[in-house]
Symmetry: C2
Subunit: 320 residues, 2 copies
């Protein structure tokens, strides 16, 4: 029987035991931010570090969702429990529903060992980036061996979100277009594995040469991972086992070299900074409203008062 | 004899009396931000509102500096005292020196009634946008009838800075290129006057038709100013009197309709918000350093402590 509480402690205990309804409600608390999100983070923190986070990103239409679905199937065949965050920074919709072309992932809707959640921009008091960090932590702490973070696009936010992964797969297509061309440097920076998906189309060899030429221009340290380039046809599953093996090879390399520890440490530091910044922003928003603010603002707008002394008066509360 | 103090009160009195060295030192205080900048704003505020602020913006190479120099000459011929802020958000250099292709403005270097200052990104604790607001206020309060703010480019920052003007002149060229094409909507939003400069080149009529077509697609309210389109040849001074007259016509319209009051009120409100935001940012930067921060950060990075409770501890000082 589904539990009917909103108490984070009870929900966390239930979710850790495999209750998907409790997990869904915890993720909603995390998305909303505020005190409950903080409490969820406090509960989850001691249980993290076992799950391995894989980012899958690439331009719209590259076939990321289909590939993600195939990767889930492979990880399930290997006995793993899988959590998936499907993130679309450009969409205002969030919550349990699967977004747009992600219906492919519905294949796993009845598998108790796969949990899929879509996240978008709406209603994240703490911002999408912070909400993603918290959701990853929660999936990790509730026994998901793999957490896949799928993002659409290769812009600033997507790169930021990809930065939360232990391994990042960048999905491109044969003859990748001008849109991606401009972002090559950014992709190279985040990619641990390149998957040339839709490899049954023309231009696979040219794309592979193109990627190899990019890598040859890059200087790698002696024990540094050099991105793997491989081909996949997500619709048939071709190359998916090799893709998961490439991610496992990167994982082993990163564990051995200490890179994984370093990445995770930097991520935790980044998250701490995000939280501090975000809470100050919220504090500013609180300060810039209400009767006292309106009165000061009116004085500043009319020119009766200079803005610095008005700001001083409003900020007296944070001078400590 | 030049005064040798850094006391804002003495410097302000001297600058208001026409001492250019004192004005230069006040502008440096304003650029640096902090307590002195606040004190300068407090001193200047009661004396503002008489100067009229004109923004001159446009793509690099459009001839803005030459045009600005010609506008200064025309305003001087009309007996006005003129202050100029030459702003380049992409340049790291700031201070008294004239930037790159702005040497044209050196024509006015020996005119006691013209004060020219270049501002760039470096060393603005309060950000370039805020420093510009403060510098405009100071030039206004020290008896400059006109304050010209010249910005390079048409990106986000430039549009933001143009928003600080009472009237904005957008400088384009015949056959304006694709770079500007993409920003047409943004230009239309900020332009009160379009100057097609280098009008001795081919393509003036096409550019004029292009601008007119843009304006025809825009709905204007009955008493709303519709941007003037005119042609100039800055190097010969052709069209410059008409340009200044167009700005004066916009000024009269904005004064009559109440638009000028409204713009200035919104600007003061925006500045207040910028100050509040900026001071919270500085507070965050203060909090995120020092021994206590380092210890907390190390705990978070190692996973020994969750980031939310660490943030709580750091932010205790602002909970009031």
């Amino acid at each position: 029987m589904a539990i009917r509480t909103n108490d984070p402690t009870q929900l966390f205990a239930a979710a850790a035991g495999g209750d998907r309804g409790a997990l869904a409600r915890l993720l909603s608390l995390v998305e909303r931010g505020g005190n409950d999100a903080r409490e969820v983070a406090r509960l989850a923190s001691p249980h993290t570090g076992r799950g391995y986070v894989v980012g899958i990103t690439g331009a719209p239409g590259a076939g990321k969702s289909t590939l993600t679905s195939a990767v889930i199937a492979d990880l399930r065949a290997r006995g793993a429990r899988v959590g998936v965050l499907a993130i679309d920074p450009s969409s205002p919709y969030t919550g349990g529903a699967i977004l747009g072309d992600r219906v492919r992932m519905q294949d796993h809707a009845h598998d108790e060992k796969v949990y899929i959640r879509s996240m978008a921009t709406r209603g994240h008091l703490g911002g999408l980036s912070l909400a993603t960090s918290e959701a990853i932590r929660l999936l990790d702490a509730t026994g998901h061996d793999w957490v896949i973070v799928e993002t659409v696009g290769v812009g600033q936010v997507e790169v930021e979100i990809a930065g939360k992964a232990d391994s990042t797969v960048v999905v491109v297509n044969p003859g990748w277009g001008d849109a991606v061309q401009a972002n090559k440097a950014g992709l190279l920076e985040i990619a641990d594995v390149f998957a040339i998906n839709k490899a049954d189309r023309d231009g696979v060899d040219a794309t592979r040469r193109d990627l190899q030429a990019m890598l040859e221009l890059t200087e790698f340290a002696e024990d540094e991972w050099q991105p793997t380039i491989l081909t996949t046809i997500a619709t048939t599953g071709q190359g998916v086992i090799e893709l998961v093996n490439a991610v496992l090879a990167h994982r082993t390399s990163a564990e051995t070299s200490g890179e994984l520890t370093r990445r995770r440490e930097l991520r935790r530091r980044e998250e701490l900074r995000e939280i501090v910044e975000r809470r100050l922003e919220l504090r500013a928003r609180e300060l810039c409203q209400g009767a006292q603010w309106d009165a000061l603002e009116a004085q500043v707008m009319s020119g009766a008062r200079d803005p610095w002394s008005a700001a001083d008066e409003m900020l007296r509360g944070i001078s400590a």
